[in-house]
Symmetry: C2
Subunit: 150 residues, 2 copies
């Protein structure tokens, strides 16, 4: 279980846990949410030389790794948003993705003393150690000990 106090600026959390991209699931996701030809049609004349995952599917897979390994059930109070989402390298079926998270900033809330605000530089890497997606995440996290002086 992690709390706000466990996120220290500069700390880098690199996880060995992975998600492997399943082709059928990739096509299903895109069919539901992002039905552009290069996401859903294996025979399309793709500018990427074949089918690639919707960026939102990649983001969702990133979130699964982020929720499971970087956040914790109890301490997380959800997120007001994310910034600078970048899709850098195409994600394809069979790719194996993992997470690297760098704590950029951690400060206590001025208005709500039970929580803090953590900003995290998120990198999603593939099996060739290419960074396929980056974003800056912001999360509200509960303090373990709210009575501690800020």
């Amino acid at each position: 279980m992690r709390y706000f106090e466990d996120y220290r600026p500069g700390d880098v959390h690199e996880f060995t846990n992975t998600i492997t991209v399943d082709e059928q699931r990739m096509i299903e996701f895109a069919t539901e949410f992002d039905p552009q030809p290069f996401h859903v049609d294996k025979d399309a004349d793709s500018p990427f030389g074949g089918l690639i995952a919707s960026g939102w599917h990649t983001a969702a897979m990133m979130m699964r790794l982020f929720a499971d390994h970087y956040l914790s059930d109890v301490a997380s109070l959800a997120s007001p948003g994310v910034d600078q989402v970048r899709w850098l390298v195409p994600v394809r079926a069979g790719d194996t993705l993992r997470l690297r998270a760098t704590v950029l900033d951690a400060r206590r809330s001025a208005s709500k003393p039970d929580r803090g605000i953590v900003r995290t530089g998120v990198e999603l890497l593939n099996q060739r150690d290419e960074v396929v997606m980056t974003l800056d995440a912001t999360n509200f996290l509960l303090l373990r000990d709210p009575d501690q002086r800020p």
Copy 2:
């Protein structure tokens, strides 16, 4: 069919097409990608007073409206990223979502004369006309007439 030339800065595209949030699908999405208690457990002590959609599910539903109504199959060459994603109002089962897209900027690519870069201010609204999510999207779009002087 739309091309780069059809996106003019200042234009506001507001669509009446909607997506209604299905509770079972909302829980399935979060179970797969974002299994925090307030996304998956109806009986959890949610800070939001009940189950809310994962922000990434909301983003994916936005993308479906964006791909179907704002982009077009042929002209879109995918996206390098998005900025300033903000989840402003909780999205719940039964909510009906629609899209408003404002063209912020449209310029031709310096390196690739067949395409342009369009930046769009995206707003997702619910049935009470509350803006539930905003983001700035960047898209590469093909020109209808690449031989036109920039």
